[in-house]
């Protein structure tokens, strides 16, 4: 009986961990790409994700108000609108807070990033109120799968399935963009050597802006999916999720796209097993400790290249 319980918890936590990990992975892409291209931690990225959660709920309410009731149509419309506006946020933030500091000291962009995240957080708090907001569950129902031979079950909701599918689809599309298109090539060239890329006629400012936009769009997808899954959010969510997604990016090897997804999945699984089997109060502490440990013992992550200091 105990074994069945444990197996059930294990299976359920695996599912939860994968869901969590997929969203961390999506957000981590923003960190990893921005870091890859300008070598800077975009602290405001978590807040972009938070804004996207609000945007999703707002667009859903508006579309619903105008009489759109078909669920698939609603989902697609909300996703598109949220991704668009969030991407615009990403672009705007880069333009006013980071671009003017391109040739500044190393510390300056980090500080403006903190400033921007404070601005976004409190802007949303003032505009939308401090209480937590909700989002109706559009997709109800779930698959029930048996676990073991003693009648244990594991539940996978449709939303969770959707999260996994959309997460991997967006990863695939992004990988295609980065590997197969000329814009992706320009991005990778800029990542390798910004000055050289500029000399070869690549508009590096535009490329950097595009990277911010892509990161924000990925965070927006995560924001929509997470809000659909949990149904509630507040203006604080960006901070904690942001650090965890960064942990995922570092874990997978910062600068590497597959690494971000892999790191996200590992972190999600680790966190959800920790919460299921050890102590759910300390799951955030566990995630942060993991970050510190990874940075100390394997700063290049699982798939990243060790950095060579240029002298």
């Amino acid at each position: 009986m105990v074994a069945t319980m444990a197996a059930e918890i294990f299976a359920q936590q695996t599912v939860n961990g994968l869901i969590l990990g997929a969203t961390y992975g999506l957000i981590a892409i923003g960190y990893t790409m921005v870091y890859g291209i300008i070598g800077m931690i975009n602290f405001a990225h978590g807040e972009i994700y938070m804004v996207s959660a609000y945007l999703a709920a707002i667009f859903l309410a508006v579309l619903h108000f105008f009489g759109l009731t078909s669920v698939p149509l609603l989902l697609v419309a909300v996703l598109l609108a949220t991704v668009l506006v969030t991407a615009l946020y990403g672009w705007f933030v880069e333009k006013i807070a980071y671009r003017p500091l391109r040739h500044s000291t190393r510390l300056a962009p980090l500080i403006t990033a903190i400033g921007v995240s404070l601005i976004l957080q409190n802007y949303v708090r003032i505009a939308q109120g401090a209480r937590s907001q909700g989002m109706p569950s559009l997709l109800q129902g779930s698959f029930i799968l048996p676990v073991g031979d003693q009648g244990g079950v594991v539940q996978i909701t449709y939303v969770q399935l959707l999260i996994i599918i959309v997460a991997f689809l967006s990863m695939a599309v992004l990988t295609f963009i980065m590997q197969g298109t000329s814009m992706g090539r320009a991005c990778r060239a800029t990542e390798q050597d910004r000055i050289m890329a500029a000399l070869l006629g690549i508009d590096t400012n535009r490329i950097i802006a595009i990277v911010f936009v892509i990161g924000a769009a990925m965070a927006a997808i995560a924001g929509v999916l997470v809000s659909l899954n949990y149904g509630s959010f507040d203006f604080h969510i960006g901070f904690i999720t942001g650090i965890k997604a960064f942990t995922a990016a570092v874990l997978g090897g910062i600068g590497s796209l597959p690494g971000a997804m892999l790191g996200g999945l590992i972190l999600g699984l680790a966190e959800s097993f920790f919460a299921g089997f050890v102590n759910s109060d300390y799951k955030d502490v566990f995630a942060f400790s993991l970050l510190v440990l990874v940075l100390i013992f394997r700063p290049s992550g699982l798939l990243g290249q060790p950095q060579i200091t240029k002298v």
């Binding site: 667009f59 506006v85 500091l101 510390l107 980090l110 500080i111 404070l118 650090i243 955030d284």
Partner: protein, 412 residues
């Protein structure tokens, strides 16, 4: 095509309208929403005006002769004139010592808070301003000091005077333990590790109910003056100070006492920090901020030098924490959120990274001003964020630029 002075701001305005219309124009209400016309339109108008003014300013600057000093450089040169410094050197301590006797109960609380922030800002200034290490979890050391005192008092019965050095030492040790592995690697990681560490400390304080009291916090004993207590009635065997001195009981006496002790500590730390700036260690910190690789090529061990800055900053943060606990008589985890770290960082940034007088002025202004503008407290953090961004873009050296020492009396 229209006039560039108008088309560009117009584009910005449209963008801002697009961005703000959903978030501040449509306010969620359950699963429904309310429409608000004004906020996005105001924001759009403000964005338009700001962009327009920036363009005007740039044009004006282009037309201006380059040799003419801007009004801002005059401000900084005023602040760095030696006579002003000498005057401040004598006047400020006197004003600071006399001040508490003229302040009411509320004023004293604010003054103590302002001094604590001066202390914290001086500590963080060493780490961020001088050594160039971005520490986003400075509040952790503040918490270590405050909880060190509270827990020491709760479990071991330690008093304020013993807790002060112990708290400082404990915070410094935490700084070394955290810093040693982290300071060896790429600089930006430090920011996120310290951020994570700050959160770990807060979460542990919040969740470890049996030991720290969790969200309910812990009570702390108020300090005594050579065994004389500041309460109306002393505990068994003690003498309240008002009876000893033969004056009437006033609840202010305690705060005045804490203020004075804190003020002396601030002066001491101030002396220490300004001395360090002209010492080899302080120079090495600044050199590391400028160029780490060059420092290493000159035989400076970057890890130990950074560690000394980190530990010293942590120590000062710990002292601030002990004073915070002593003045509140109570600690709980809500005082040690990331926002506190961001506030202290904002102080250091606005005061000018590395500039001691600037940081002190900013600390006082940023703690006293919000108290005076209670009605706008909602906008406080927003304004801090804005100020950080604007400062970094417009004047990264801060309002008061740090002076460079000129060495006198050398055989030239």
């Amino acid at each position: 095509m229209g006039h560039p002075l108008l088309t560009q701001p117009l584009l910005t305005a449209i963008l801002v309208l697009l961005l703000t219309a959903p978030v501040s124009g449509l306010v969620l209400d359950g699963y429904d929403f309310n429409l608000r016309w004004q906020p996005p339109l105001w924001l759009t108008l403000i964005a338009f005006c700001i962009h327009w003014m920036i363009l005007l300013f740039k044009r004006w600057r282009l037309g201006e002769k380059t040799g003419k000093p801007s009004p801002w450089s005059r401000v900084s040169s005023w602040g760095s004139r030696p006579s002003v410094h000498r005057l401040a050197f004598f006047v400020l301590p006197v004003v600071g010592l006399v001040l508490p006797f003229f302040l009411g109960k509320y004023g004293l609380t604010v003054a103590i808070l302002a001094l604590i922030y001066v202390l914290l800002a001086l500590g963080l200034n060493i780490v961020v301003g001088l050594a160039g290490l971005l520490d986003l979890g400075f509040v952790a050391f503040y918490a270590v000091g405050a909880y060190g005192y509270a827990l020491g008092h709760h479990y071991l019965g330690l008093g304020f005077w013993l807790s002060l050095p112990l708290g400082a030492l404990l915070a410094a040790c935490c700084g070394i333990v955290l810093g040693f592995p982290v300071l060896r690697m790429h600089g930006d990681y430090l920011a996120i590790v310290t951020l994570g560490f700050g959160e770990i400390i807060r979460l542990v304080l919040n969740n470890w109910m049996d030991f720290t009291g969790g969200p309910n916090g812990l009570r702390v004993d108020f300090p005594t003056f050579f065994g004389l207590e500041f309460s109306r009635h002393a505990k068994e065997g003690g003498i309240p100070i008002h009876e000893f001195l033969g004056i009437d009981y006033s609840s202010n006496t305690r705060n005045i006492f804490i203020y004075l002790v804190l003020f002396l500590v601030v002066l001491l730390i101030l002396a220490l920090v300004s001395r360090l700036k002209t010492m080899p260690l302080g120079r090495a910190w600044e050199a590391l901020r400028e160029d780490e690789i060059a420092c290493r090529s000159l035989g400076i061990n970057h890890v130990t030098v950074k560690l000394s800055a980190f530990a010293l900053g942590a120590m000062i943060g710990g002292i601030g924490g002990v004073f915070f606990a002593a003045s509140q008589g109570f600690v709980n985890p809500t005082s040690f959120t990331f926002f506190e770290s961001a506030l202290i960082l904002a102080i250091v940034v606005l005061g000018g990274l590395g500039s001691i007088p600037g940081v002190m002025i900013a600390a006082v202004v940023l703690t006293v001003l919000p108290e005076m503008l209670r009605d706008f407290s909602d906008y406080r953090i927003l304004v801090f964020g804005l100020a950080m961004v604007v400062m970094m873009i417009w004047r990264p050296q801060g309002l008061v630029r740090a002076r460079r020492p000129v060495f006198q009396g050398r055989k030239a």
